[in-house]
Each structure stands twice: as C-alpha cells, then as structure tokens.
C-alpha cells in the first residue's frame, strides 16, 4: 500500500453489472440498478469524480487490492473474513434472508411465511427455525457457495438436510425450477426479483430472517490503506441515509426499504 496520502478527487468503482436489481447492465451497455444510482448520489456528496467499471465477481477483492479499482459496490456483505483483507464503509443497505421453494411444492407456505424474525450471531433454539427443521428433514437445500447464507444453512440445517452449493444464485434458481433441489436460501431482496423472472413458479416459504446475524449489512469495499476515501464515503452514506435518499432508491428498485436500522 502506498505510504502517502492521496487527495481523492477521482475514484473508480466496480460492480458486476449482472446482479439485478442491485446492479445490472442495460441493453445499450450502460449500467443501471440500485447501486449505480446510489453511487452517483454518494460521489456527488463526497465531491469525488467517479467512474463505474464492470468486472467479474470472482476475483473482485484481489483485484481491488491489486489496484485495478478503488471501490467495490456489489452488494458486498460486511463480514469478518473480508475485514481481514479489505476495509468497509458503514452499511448502506441491510437485507433479510429467506427460503424459496416451488409454488406447488408441499413445502410452500410453511409456518411463519410473511412474518419476519430477528436473529443474532450464534443464536440457537429459535422456535421458528426448529419448526422449519422439522419440515425440511431429508430435503435438498441450494445455496450460493461462500456466502453468509451458506454458513447459516450449514450451521442450522446441515444435520438434517442435504446441502448443494452453486457458483451463482441464478444457477440455483434454475435448478429449483427444474426440481433438482427442494429449497433455496438467499437474500430476500434478490429472491423477490428472481421470482418475477420465474413467472411466479417460485415463492417464499417460512419467515424472513433479519437482524445482526447477517452482520452489519452491505457496505462499500475499500483498500485498508485508503482511510481518507473511506471516511469521505462514510460521511456521504450517513447523509444519504439521513435525508431518505437511500430509502427512495430502495423503494424504486426493491419495492421495500433496505436502509439499515441505525
């Protein structure tokens, strides 16, 4: 890392451009979605001239550290493992997670569907979860490899269900429709959007799970050395949360408010 302080007037922000509705690519090649619009607001407030570049999700963090760009804004959950290698801003979103299944599946409409429960890290014996365990015995649950949700499913359902790891959530959704697996577990916001594409073949089942169990939420990833850049964005996020800008954009793209509860 450079041992000098940089006067941040310009920065490059990366996102995948293929993770609708967080970020996506339009048919004309421009980037759109919740994060590109929020990025515009944040950069204006931080007085930084930002360039958005698309890059592949695999290798995004090493590429940040290799200096290919300065900021990751790609629904990146703030986790302890990631903190080992990069720094985060405060979260600009925090989303609940939930199970999905085929609409005509016997597992549909499990107890608690539509409700929300809050959980803390390491919490056990939650009665709603125990009820799901009963129901999911012997079933196959699909998750995206190496996510916080994967860890949750292993911890709570690893002993009663078969777990299959996918490289992407989209692959898992296709297999859920194909009937190779019975359940999927992922970010509820992501699922809500995916259900539209599945033409109503998929639906939530069981309660949405929110709270600090998912960590602080989604923040911007920044190299550890670039503390000034981080501070500038922290201030910008604070102000965007305070005046409701985040909520407005969130309602536009997610049809729900994903602003983290302060």
């Amino acid at each position: 890392p450079p041992a000098f302080s940089k006067d941040w007037t310009k920065a490059t922000i990366t996102l995948e451009g293929a993770y609708a509705p967080w970020n996506l690519t339009n048919a004309d090649g421009t980037l759109g979605g919740f994060e590109p619009e929020l990025a515009k607001v944040l950069c204006e407030r931080a007085k930084i001239e930002c360039t958005l570049v698309a890059s592949d999700w695999d290798g995004m963090i090493p590429a940040l550290n290799a200096g290919k760009f300065d900021v990751i804004m790609d629904a990146l959950s703030i986790t302890e493992e990631r903190r080992q290698v990069i720094d985060f801003t405060i979260p600009y979103a925090a989303t609940p997670a939930a199970f999905a299944t085929a609409k005509d599946s016997p597992l549909a409409n499990a107890a608690g569907t539509g409700a929300t429960i809050k959980m803390t890290p390491g919490q056990t014996g939650v009665k709603e979860i125990e009820a799901l365990k009963e129901l999911f015995k012997g079933k196959t649950i699909g998750i995206q490899a190496a996510t916080v949700y994967a860890k949750f499913v292993y911890d709570n359902f690893g002993d009663i269900a078969e777990i299959r790891e996918y490289k992407t959530g989209a692959d898992r959704d296709l297999d859920l429709q194909n009937g190779r697996i019975d359940l999927g577990f992922d970010d509820a916001v992501y699922f809500a959007n995916a259900f539209q594409a599945a033409n109503g073949a998929l639906a939530f089942t069981g309660p949405e799970i929110a709270g600090s169990i998912w960590g602080e939420g989604e923040g911007l990833g920044i190299r550890k050395a670039d503390t000034e850049l981080r501070d500038k964005f922290n201030a910008a996020i604070k102000s965007a949360l305070a005046d409701g800008t985040v909520k407005t954009l969130s309602m536009k793209w997610f049809k729900m408010d994903v602003s983290p509860q302060q």
Binding site: P2, F4, K6, T14, E16, G17, A18, Y19, A20, L24, T25, N26, A27, D28, G29, V53, A54, S55, D56, D58, G59, P62, A63, A66, G67, K68, T168, A170, L174, A194, A197
Partner: protein
C-alpha cells in the same frame, strides 16, 4: 416469443453489444495467436537446438503451460502481472498502482498458453520437412541462414497451417475464460446479459451460436490458407496433411 426481442438491435435489444463482444473475442484471440506465434517459434527453436539446457527450458515451458488449467494461468498473469508492473513502476519512481489493462493481461495469458501449443506445431512441421530437400539445398552451396529462409520457413508455414487452425480453435475458447478480468468479450457479455435480464438460456444459446459463427469463419480462413499453401501438393496428398 417476446424474449427474442432481447436479441434485436433496438434500444432494448442486446444484438449490438453481443456483436461488439464477438469482435472483442476475435481481437483478443488474434492478438493472443500473434503473441503465441512469437513465443512458440522461440520455444520450438530451443527444443530443436540440441543444447541440453535450452531443450530442458523448452520442455518446462510446454509442460507447464499445457498442463495447468488455463484459468489458473489467467489469474496468475492478471494478478501477478499487475504486481510486477506496479513494482517496476515503483522502481522507476512512480508511486501508486499500475494495472495491466484487462485486454493486455487476457491476450498475454492466452498468448502464453497458445505459445506452448504452437511450439509443438512448429516443431512437428520442422521435423516433417524432407531431409533430402535440406540436403539438396546444402548440395548447391546454400548456407544455414539462406537454407532456413528459402527452404525451411516456407515449408514449416505450409505444414503448420492445419495445426495452427487447431490452436486458433483452442485459443478462441480459452479467451472465454478471460471474462474474469472483466473484459467484455463474448462469454462475459452473454453472462452479463443473462444476469441482467434473467434470460439465461436465450443468451447462452445466442452466445454459443456466435462462437459457432466465429468458428466457421475462421475454419474458412484456415482452409483457404491451406489450399493456397498446398498448391504444390497433389490433390490426394492434400487430404493427408
């Protein structure tokens, strides 16, 4: 099917982006093939040199770059290359990050792999030149350099064309792996379009078809080149090449 509109050229169609991406794939592969040709010629020369050290070096090159999955090599060059460039920049007094642009990193990675295959192609072509023709060249007093230029080179190129066609095919598909560098080539653009519209099958089939079009176009080029180069061969022997 309304979703077919997504492949069109209007404001909601991905047609234009996919075509541009196919051209990018073509550009990366062509650059890689050129890099590979230079490396391949050098490595083939080393392996044919008879000098045990050079031969061993050549063998290590071809073994490693043909034996390790392409994706790993691309990662090593994309990230490893960046740190190398950065440290060179530092040595020259430039403070800060310097990246290898993704086009350069991708073309270099695929080129290095392609070089290991091309080295074998060139070596095989050289060994296939009739010894008698080389002796005939010596017998009229041609010196080494002239023999190489007038007799060996033209024939190596001719004999290597079918092999180079195969290497091109391989490199075309290796280029699909450099999507990890974020370069908007055909594979990545298909994936991005699929992820943004959630029309996975539509865009993967469209991408696959574009690859097939690239393949058949390049087949045509190589077949034409082979025919031209084989003017001197009788029709029956051409089939054997």
């Amino acid at each position: 099917m309304a979703s077919l509109e997504l492949l069109g050229f209007g404001s909601t169609g991905w047609g234009a982006l996919l075509i541009v991406a196919a051209l990018m794939t073509l550009a990366v592969t062509a650059t890689a093939l050129a890099i590979g040709a230079v490396l391949g010629a050098i490595v083939a020369a080393a392996k044919l040199s008879g000098n045990p050290f050079l031969v061993a070096l050549g063998n290590v090159y071809t073994t490693v770059f043909r034996g390790v999955p392409e994706l790993l090599i691309i990662y090593l060059i994309y990230f490893g290359g960046s740190s190398a460039v950065t440290s060179i920049g530092k040595a020259m007094g430039y403070e800060g990050f310097l990246g290898l642009p993704s086009f350069a990193a991708g073309a270099l990675a695929v080129g290095i792999i392609s070089g290991s295959y091309q080295a074998e192609v060139f070596r095989g072509a050289f060994l296939a030149i009739s010894k008698g023709e080389l002796e005939a060249a010596s017998a009229i007093g041609m010196h080494r350099g002239m023999r190489f230029r007038r007799i060996i080179m033209p024939q190596v190129l001719r004999l290597a064309i079918p092999g180079l066609g195969n290497v091109w095919q391989l490199s075309l598909k290796d280029s699909a792996l450099i999507s990890v560098t974020g370069l908007a080539e055909l594979m990545r653009t298909s994936q991005v379009a699929a992820g943004s519209t959630r029309q996975y099958f539509l865009f993967f089939i469209a991408g696959g078809c574009l690859y097939l079009i690239l393949t058949s176009l390049s087949d045509r080029v190589f077949n034409g080149a082979e025919r031209r180069a084989n003017r001197s061969m009788p029709a029956s022997a051409m089939g054997q090449a």
